[in-house]
């Protein structure tokens, strides 16, 4: 079966139908997704700013990294689970949505950046644990920050490119293609 066929199968599943028909499930799933995404972004922001040396480099990087990453990963796992549920609800629409695809691509970039940092750039972290970070680590931090802010922006854009959830005033002519 090809990918569009699988996406249609997901859309037609009992779980998808139940989520669509449930009044309470979607707001709860969406809210948990926002909470965990905020936690992932916020904890990564703290680590990225330490890599960038802003506001300082006095805090032990290894300690900070160790303390925060468990929260990042814990929140990320819940965010993925709730994200999958959101996809299941409306899989055909999401699959064809450019903003959704860009978000997945940005998440892939974030993962590659983190992998490279953990395996290459950050291997000598003990040498700069309580001091200024090397330029390679600063680049990794700046990249991470840029990618994660992009993920949040693109994620919010998905909701506006698959239809509006508020009433449009009579005297306003909305351009549904964003001027294209």
């Amino acid at each position: 079966m090809d990918l569009p066929g699988i996406v249609q199968l997901i859309h037609d599943s009992a779980l998808s139908e139940w989520l669509r028909s449930s009044l309470k499930a979607m707001p709860i799933v969406e809210a948990i997704h926002v909470m965990t995404a905020a936690t992932v972004f916020g904890t990564i922001l703290v680590v990225d700013l330490r890599l960038l040396g802003w506001p300082s480099t006095q805090r032990s990087f290894s300690r900070l990294h160790g303390e925060l990453m468990r929260w990042t990963w814990g929140a990320f796992v819940i965010s993925v689970i709730t994200g999958v549920l959101l996809f299941v609800v409306n899989s055909v629409t999401y699959y064809g949505n450019t903003a959704f695809r860009l978000k997945m691509l940005a998440l892939l970039f974030a993962g590659v950046n983190m992998f490279v940092f953990e395996r290459v750039t950050g291997r000598d972290a003990a040498a700069w644990d309580k001091g200024p970070t090397p330029s390679s680590a600063r680049v990794a931090g700046a990249l991470s920050l840029t990618i994660w802010v992009s993920v949040l922006f693109i994620a919010r854009w998905i909701g506006f490119t698959k239809g509006y959830d508020f009433s449009i005033p009579d005297n306003v002519n909305l351009d549904l293609n964003f001027g294209q």
Binding site: P27, I28, V34, V40, R156, N173, F178
Partner: protein
């Protein structure tokens, strides 16, 4: 009364401008969500320090001084973006019970953060200060409070589904 005010606001030139410029609402909502991450994690870090789960090698004052400017700055940006978003959709906001509950909890969150900082900060200059059970309970409660605020923010779009007949519209 609030609904009448909201209807009048919805017809204002600023409201029409927000509604008719399609990039404004998604852009402001995106900034709003980035700030949720900043504020929530700043509060989480301060709370985890009170609970002794992070930064135990630093004084509470150090952790408070590091994260509280992010918390207040983030709250300020959220207030500004939230205000413009509210002007763009005033009737939707005013008729949502979730919106009013969210505003009430934000007020409680801000007052408790002010009281929290004022009460605990002087104590924390004494090395690795141990916090009382009550302080830990209040700190953990603050995180739960902000989780409710995030939930209510998302629930505005689903007010009828979440609250049923309690929806104010």
């Amino acid at each position: 009364m609030f609904l009448d005010l909201a209807k009048a606001l919805g017809g204002s030139s600023l409201s029409i401008w927000v509604q008719s410029h399609l990039w404004v609402t998604p852009l402001l909502q995106s900034v709003h969500i980035v700030m949720i991450g900043v504020v929530f994690v700043a509060i989480l870090m301060i709370t985890l320090r009170v609970l002794g789960k992070v930064g135990a090698d630093e004084t509470f004052a150090t952790v408070w001084n590091r994260f509280s400017p992010w918390m207040w700055g983030g709250i300020g940006v959220m207030a500004l973006t939230g205000l413009v978003l509210g002007i763009g959709e005033p009737v939707r906001e005013a008729s949502a019970l979730s919106f009013w509950l969210k505003m009430s909890l934000i007020a409680i969150g801000i007052v408790s953060a002010l009281a929290f900082g004022r009460t605990l900060r002087p104590l924390a200059y004494v090395g690795d200060a141990q916090f009382s059970g009550g302080a830990k309970f209040v700190a953990a409660g603050t995180v739960v409070l902000w989780l409710f605020i995030i939930f209510l923010g998302r629930a505005i779009a689903y007010d009828v589904e979440v609250w049923g007949s309690l929806h104010l519209g």
